[in-house]
């Protein structure tokens, strides 16, 4: 066992790290939570930075060259994504679904034409993708999707509504889960389409979130035509494609996530050093010291658990349902961390961005609110525990749910 990079990997890491320092956008301040005030500015910055990464050979390193990758290993890719999440996550955040879901799905299950058509334009920053799975009646129960796609000649006609679709208002394409066979229920009859979000009949309406921002949207589809060549896999395979292609990227995602949270812990420590309550730095308060240290430990756990899974995967292991652990290991601690950050600030804990008394420009207040989404998005905590209970430990399904399945 050896947790260290080889000398070559370390040299690569240092090379990329100094590349990032030289290639950040003008005036970009990595210590600020937000450098861009509008989603247009953010999108433009994402695309420009992605283009630079691509031209310098730092995109999708573990994918083959013919699809815009670099033909290297997951280790180099992890080094790149970790460095980005340490230095400029804001420039990558909106691409998480693009690279974590669209890319692996198209690469693993797409046709040669689909790969040629879509992957290079993702890699060089031309296109941003979003994920249209959830619907008003299909949240955790994602197999209940009712958006219909009926084949008519050389295209599908799509009708229905998606909800909580992150970044659809900025995206160019959408990975879309639809029902192609109205006669079947649940998993059977679901298919996977690639939707040009600018197609006629698509109406994207941003939704205001509890943070005050609009990260996600509602997407309405009214007689939208999607060419049949945009079907991924076969009709009826949508469910299988949706759940099986994402495991590898999740392993990478957990490693990247750990780097992001190490940075959060650093920020929490400096906040506790800088902020005084009743004349004394918060860091001297023994109760907060205990909590701070516990958060430090939990993020170590996230990091080394992520690395252990990553280590298995790069040695040829196939990640399975135990990957649900990683989701729980960041989403739940993040809620505790941001909550305690506010409690450390005492009565000032409710002051938000814009006030001279806002601590760290209100970053913790934003973080506290945003963290509430963490245990819901990408499979809620309850769903992760169901997966672990049933698919890893082999515990039986609840009788009522087992009956529905039949």
């Amino acid at each position: 066992m050896d947790y260290r990079y080889t000398p070559e990997q370390e040299a690569f890491r240092q090379g990329f790290s100094s590349w990032v320092d030289k290639n950040l956008p003008e005036g970009f301040d990595p210590t600020k939570r937000r450098n861009f005030n509008t989603s247009e500015d953010l999108l433009a910055a994402y695309k420009a930075f992605q283009k630079r990464l691509y031209e310098a050979g730092y995109t999708a390193l573990h994918y083959p060259k013919e699809y815009g990758g670099q033909g290297k290993t997951m280790v180099e890719e992890a080094i790149v994504t970790q460095t980005i999440s340490e230095k400029c996550m804001e420039l990558r955040q909106i691409g998480v679904i693009t690279f974590g879901m669209a890319v692996p799905t198209i690469y693993t299950c797409g046709t040669e034409e689909q790969k040629q058509e879509y992957l290079p334009k993702i890699m060089d920053g031309t296109h941003l993708w979003c994920q249209g799975f959830s619907e008003p009646e299909a949240g955790s129960d994602i197999a209940n999707v009712s958006t219909m796609a009926i084949k008519e000649g050389d295209h599908y006609v799509v009708n229905g509504q998606k909800v909580w679709t992150s970044m659809a208002h900025m995206a160019d394409y959408c990975i879309l889960l639809v029902r192609t066979d109205p006669e079947t229920t649940k998993h059977r009859g679901l298919s996977y389409l690639l939707l040009d979000i600018k197609s006629p009949g698509v109406d994207v309406r941003p939704m205001k979130q509890m943070t005050g921002e609009s990260e996600f949207t509602e997407v309405f589809m009214d007689n939208v035509k999607v060419p049949v060549e945009n079907l991924v896999g076969k009709e009826g395979e949508g469910w299988m494609i949706a759940i099986t292609t994402l495991m590898f990227e999740r392993v990478l995602g957990d490693v990247t996530m750990a780097t992001a949270y190490e940075k959060t812990i650093k920020n929490l420590i400096s906040m506790a050093q800088n902020v005084k309550r009743s004349g004394r730095p918060v860091i001297e308060n023994p109760l907060f010291r205990q909590k701070l240290a516990q958060h430090y430990i939990e993020i170590m756990v996230l990091k080394y658990h992520g690395l252990r899974n990553f280590g298995k995967t790069i040695k040829g292991g196939v990640p399975g349902p135990e990957g649900s652990i990683g989701k729980l290991l960041w989403s739940e601690p993040n809620q505790r961390i941001t909550n305690n950050a506010i409690m450390m600030q005492g009565p000032l804990g409710q002051i938000t961005e814009g006030s001279p008394w806002a601590i760290d420009e209100g970053a913790w207040q934003y973080g506290f609110l945003r963290s509430k989404g963490n245990t819901i998005e990408a499979g809620s905590s309850e769903i992760q525990r169901n997966i672990i209970g049933e698919r890893v430990l082999g515990l039986p399904k609840d009788a009522s749910r087992a009956a529905i399945k039949k």
Partner: protein, 380 residues
């Protein structure tokens, strides 16, 4: 980068599981719980045959010179089986302290005999007034020109009643700073003036003793390492012990988690297995999350002891000690809840695990102590 266990490590683990299944059954553990000696010579000699005591002793002293991570493979299994006896005290509290603190001739004298199973030993650290901080040492050792005279009481000394040597931690300069003026002494428990008595503790699968010292002379030859400088090396040794006890805890937690899950599949109430109810299913799932994530931290912490710079290694040891022993406690408690009344009876082994979990959690610095220590190590 290679973050997987080697084939050899996996083999050690499998072999240990097989061995303990045969030689350390739940009935045997129960019997040893009631027994004052707490182990059998037969079990000890079989462990020696497997070379377990030699694993982490350097080759020049008759050992195998393996890494802590290799030994962790065994300790997860001894923890799982709740293996009784002086193995942990001898090879960790005893041998690791001698390796970290001893001079060459002391190592020559003790280590080869530990490696070949000839002698057993332990560490006398805690005192009646000790708190969570193991550095609060008040027992006095007075210099008398030729050597030192020990007087005082040590408690919670594991396996002192069957030990051939005890490393006694005592104060040779007044004060309450462990960094200054603490000395380690090698003593023979059979010497005049030493009285060893068994202490009743919750976890009787590991015997703890009180050790009374009344005017016990110790020659300067038996000062382990340098006088007044004992705390530094002791801390280095203790870090490895903290990782070791984390491994034992995760082995125990793994057993408890499996017990809960197995039972949840077969116990029927209201017409279905209780594991179908989410209150039980999610509890079991959380146990799995806790055990697996603890194990990930444990492996890193073990690797760190042999490979990372000192501060990072110390932080890793404290983090593992905190997280893994808390996991063991939480999982044992959760398992009892899943087992219902069945988990509350003496005949069910789960209570031995809970008792071991509690003992491990409060030993060698409790979680609060280690959390504070992490911040100190980060210069906060």
């Amino acid at each position: 980068m290679d973050i997987t266990l080697s084939k050899a490590q996996q083999d050690i683990s499998k072999e240990a599981r097989r061995f303990l299944k045969k030689e350390c059954s739940p009935d045997f553990v129960q019997e040893m719980f009631e027994d004052d000696k707490g182990y059998t010579d037969d079990l000890w000699s079989k462990i020696v045959e497997l070379d377990w005591p030699a694993m982490c002793i350097p080759e020049q002293y008759g050992g195998m010179g393996l890494d802590l991570l290799d030994l962790i493979m065994v300790l997860e299994e001894t923890g799982r089986a709740l293996m009784p006896g002086p193995f942990f005290s001898t090879i960790l509290l005893g041998a690791e302290t001698i390796i970290a603190a001893g001079n060459d001739s002391q190592k020559e004298t003790y280590l080869p005999k530990i490696a070949n199973g000839e002698i057993k030993g332990t560490l006398a650290l805690y005192e009646p007034d000790s708190g969570a901080d193991p550095g609060y040492i008040q027992m006095e050792a007075k210099s008398d020109g030729n050597g030192f005279i020990l007087n005082g009481t040590k408690i919670l000394v594991p396996d002192a009643h069957v030990s051939d040597f005890i490393i006694c931690v005592a104060r040779t300069q007044p004060g309450d700073d462990a960094e200054q003026g603490v000395t380690l002494f090698l003593v023979d428990p059979k010497s005049d003036g030493i009285t060893v008595s068994l202490l009743p503790t919750m976890d009787a699968t590991r015997k703890y003793c009180g050790v009374e010292f009344k005017n016990v002379p110790v020659s300067t030859d038996n000062v382990l390492g340098e006088p007044n400088q004992g705390w530094g090396p002791l801390c280095r040794a203790m870090q490895r012990v903290q990782v070791a006890i984390s491994a034992e805890s995760i082995g125990g937690a793994q057993w408890a988690m499996e017990a809960a899950t197995d039972y949840a599949k077969i116990r029927i109430q209201f017409g279905q297995p209780i594991g179908a109810y989410q209150a039980i299913k999610h509890r079991c799932a959380q146990m799995f999350v806790d055990v697996e994530s603890s194990r990930s931290l444990l492996y890193y912490a073990a690797w760190a002891q042999d490979n990372e710079e000192p501060t990072a290694a110390a932080i890793a040891a404290s983090a593992a000690k905190t997280y893994c022993t808390e996991t063991f406690n939480n999982v044992s408690c959760g398992t009892i809840q899943v087992l219902g009344g069945t988990g509350f009876v003496w005949e069910n082994e789960i209570h031995y695990y809970l008792k071991r979990a509690k003992a491990n959690e409060v030993a060698l610095g409790d979680p609060d102590y280690h959390r504070e220590r992490i911040l100190k190590l980060l210069s906060l």
